[in-house]
Symmetry: C2
Subunit: 509 residues, 2 copies
């Protein structure tokens, strides 16, 4: 239990003045230099200190988060646990040392390339100040102290955190805890700050001292920021996680064998956190007239729940209405208008008409194939489209015309020929392919991949969840013929860090 003053959301949070931001960015250059040079142990301890600082203020943080996001206490406490776990995991990652990708090639006079090989040693180093745009839907795990911040700090960089306007007070409190914990752990001044306002975010994104940016949010917002980053005089890496429909494909055999279970799990995945997850399965392909359709039709969807804010709610209604209005789309289960029409809200158009009800719409796989741009489209909130197929070849046809996805799911059995055919196709479309599990609940692990081809992300080679996320904020540097005493520790002959290295092409763990 914290003894600090009770947090409040009473006072509006002001936009950050540009002069203040510029002053911070000046400090951040030197902070990045110092932090990059700090030992792995120091950086790791600082990450652990941040985790401890957040844990110590958990009650205050969760209270503020509840007020500002309408998410449940259980969900928020779980998310905070995930967040501090992630910080500690990156401390472990630092100590393990593979993230440095240390390579040593000794000089070889008689090198078969036709010229002598010099001594070359290469490692990954911090890229410089990183700008992070926080997400609305994970006020801890993808916000101020979230994965982007953790991995950018771990990599040895200063961080400018552009707060999401959906939870500004929580952002400030989290930011204070992060900054104080880092300072107490010996991190340099200028290592971390939180800024508010679109102008500050865009100004930072254009600033020459910002060397990389990360973003989690909508396709429209993310693309606009991506375009700014790419049109700089010096473009910088922009790691945007934008949108995803996360299609799921149910084979005929699975539909026959496990209809009720599939329907229940699908609905739980669609409606958990009121559907406000980037990995929510928004499209389910099922055999026409199968028991899965029956089970879904018989489902009682959860009661309406508040969405994160009125802007999210309005966007959700627009996206559901657009899908529902499409030829060949009708209601399957969920809220209806007084006239039984497949609309999900009954009040004045555009107004915040109370909490939106969960809804499942129905269509056919043929309709999806005919107009994928319209029907494979994210509805951010508790909604999904169920598409019935007549022939399992339609599964592959739908898979082949997908845009990039964070995830794609197969619900099938090992013997399903169509599943074996689907899997490699889906692997070209999504960053993560699931088998008989559901895509929400993105575990933070060494093998996790949260990112896929555009528009799932703007950087197809990157992940924003899992230990590989650190690579986004690193860049390779080779040292040729540099004396041992002047080399970074990871590249010195004696391997003082005790890390895995590749010596003359041979991996030495």
């Amino acid at each position: 239990m914290s003894t600090a003053a009770a947090p409040t959301t009473a006072t509006p949070v002001a936009d950050t003045p540009i002069a203040e931001l510029d002053a911070f960015l000046g400090l951040a250059v030197d902070a990045s230099t110092a932090w990059r040079a700090a030992t792995i142990a120091v950086r790791g301890e600082a990450l652990r200190a941040v985790a401890e600082g957040l844990d110590a203020r958990a009650d205050d943080l969760v209270l503020l988060a509840r007020r500002e996001t309408h998410l449940t206490e259980a969900r928020l406490r779980g998310e905070l646990t995930r967040t501090t776990f992630q910080l500690r995991l990156f401390a472990d990652v630092l100590a393990e040392g593979s993230w440095l990708d240390a390579r040593i090639d000794h000089a070889v006079a008689d090198y078969p390339m036709g010229a002598p090989r010099p001594d070359i040693r290469r490692q990954l180093e911090g890229i410089g100040t990183v700008l992070v745009f926080a997400a609305s839907n994970f006020p801890f795990a993808f916000s101020v102290a979230g994965g982007d911040t953790a991995s950018a700090l771990a990599a040895g960089n200063a961080v400018v955190l552009k707060a999401h306007p959906g939870h500004p007070h929580l952002s400030d409190l989290t930011g204070e805890i992060v900054a104080a914990s880092l300072a107490a752990a010996g991190a340099p001044a200028g290592i971390f700050t939180v800024v508010h306002g679109i102008d500050a975010g865009v100004h930072a994104l254009r600033h020459p001292d910002v060397r990389a940016a990360a973003f989690t949010g909508s396709i429209a917002g993310g693309r606009a920021l991506f375009d700014i980053a790419m049109s700089r005089p010096e473009p910088i890496p922009f790691y945007g996680e934008l949108g995803s429909v996360n299609p799921a494909f149910v084979t005929p055999g699975a539909a026959r064998a496990r209809a009720t279970e599939i329907a229940e799990q699908f609905v739980a995945s669609v409606t958990g956190s009121a559907g406000q997850l980037c990995t929510k399965p928004g499209l389910l392909l099922v055999p026409a007239g199968s028991a899965v359709v029956d089970a879904l039709t018989a489902t009682v969807l959860p009661a309406p729940a508040p969405l994160l804010n009125s802007s999210i709610a309005a966007g959700f209604r627009r996206s559901v209405d657009a899908t529902a209005a499409h030829d060949g789309v009708g209601p399957l289960v969920g809220a209806r208008g007084a006239d039984g029409a497949p609309t999900v809200h009954v009040d004045a158009e555009g107004a915040d008409a109370g909490d939106p009800a969960p809804v499942l719409l129905r269509t056919t796989a043929a309709a999806v194939v005919a107009d994928p741009d319209a029907l494979v489209s994210e509805m951010f909130g508790p909604a999904a489209l169920v598409a019935e197929y007549d022939d399992e070849s339609e599964l592959v046809a739908v898979a082949k015309l997908l845009d990039g996805q964070l995830t794609a799911t197969i619900v099938g059995d090992e013997g399903d020929a169509v599943a074996a055919e689907l899997l490699p196709v889906l692997a070209t479309k999504a960053g993560r392919v699931l088998w008989n599990q559901w895509p929400t609940g993105v575990s933070v692990t060494w093998a996790q991949q949260h990112g896929g081809p555009y528009p799932a992300t703007t950087a197809v080679g990157a992940t924003s969840v899992g230990t590989a996320a650190i690579t986004r904020f690193l860049r390779p540097v080779a040292y040729q013929n540099v004396p041992d005493v002047l080399l970074p520790a990871a590249l010195q002959d004696a391997n003082p860090l005790g890390i895995p290295r590749r010596i003359d092409g041979v991996l030495q763990p």
Copy 2:
């Protein structure tokens, strides 16, 4: 000795019709799918077959290259050796298996994140069809069968090679050998083609089936193509290697101890291959009035040599004239006009006035600090700017205002305090930092890094030389809860490929 028909450059090479390109790109989608699924052994053998095919036609290739590029036979034979070495090295890289970055996280019920961990397995897979824009200055090693092609094919992708107009016949002959060798080794139809013409290149760059692009060339050309790639509806990774000045910093101690050696090696590095190397040291910082200046002044520069083509020669003259015309810049050694003025050509402006003579210009470090945009600027050809400094603090001042570089070089001694201060600054500016060696002659090794912050490259995390180059054309895919029998070989329990993997966070070589 080849028995094939003697090559000729008599007939102009026509631009590739767009319809022909489109037809190839259709084939390439399926080829990429098949190639990605091919075994590592098959792909490795195909790369070796290409190397053998090129070796078998070495005489014809070198003959054509001499006619089209004016480079010397010795240089071209060496470059071809480098090129086939590189293809074979990527076959070794494939077999070693670390490039897959295979990670296996087993399911954990009681995971400290607060939710059970599913079974997740991740590897890198081919990104899809890759478009490669060939360079002019390395007609083998950065052209049709060069590093980009080798690494893209190794990664499991089809390749569309946009030929450089400077050596079109060589490009066609090389392309025929590559395609025939790949076909004979069992690679699918549509795996590789050569196209000609700007329209074909831009059309391919905009084509939705092209999933990544690589380029080596000028800042202006590379940025234009980068902008096209980034403005696509679905942006794709664009790996451009653009321009670099490759500054070298001589400490006072080194200048005192080794003036003649430094001058000789510097001049050799500036004038080798007529200075047409992206790592040519274009700026040398030396103590004012030091013996290095004397040694350089006494140098007899090599005789004028033909540049690659008249466009390169004209660009070289423009860039040297622009630098020479700057306040505070004068001639150090090299060709002069009849009036002794520091101009490098004496004939009609803009005309191809014979082969340009090598030239060294001189200025002060203070002048560089005052106008780095003008004086730290690439002169592609046999020229460099020698900047004299009065105080060694100017070395750090110049280093701090550099744009991104491929390389930066320190000529010093271990005890030089300024060298220890310079090194970490240069590591933020360049992809490769050298000590008492010169940056030309980029060795192809596991630890090589050929790429740096913009404008050296458009993708600061990537290299176009060395084994890490393969990563550019791969993307991560995670498989969650997928049955062993359906998993890619690298992720199956039994490790049938025998490759290094990370199991539950622990690296297992």
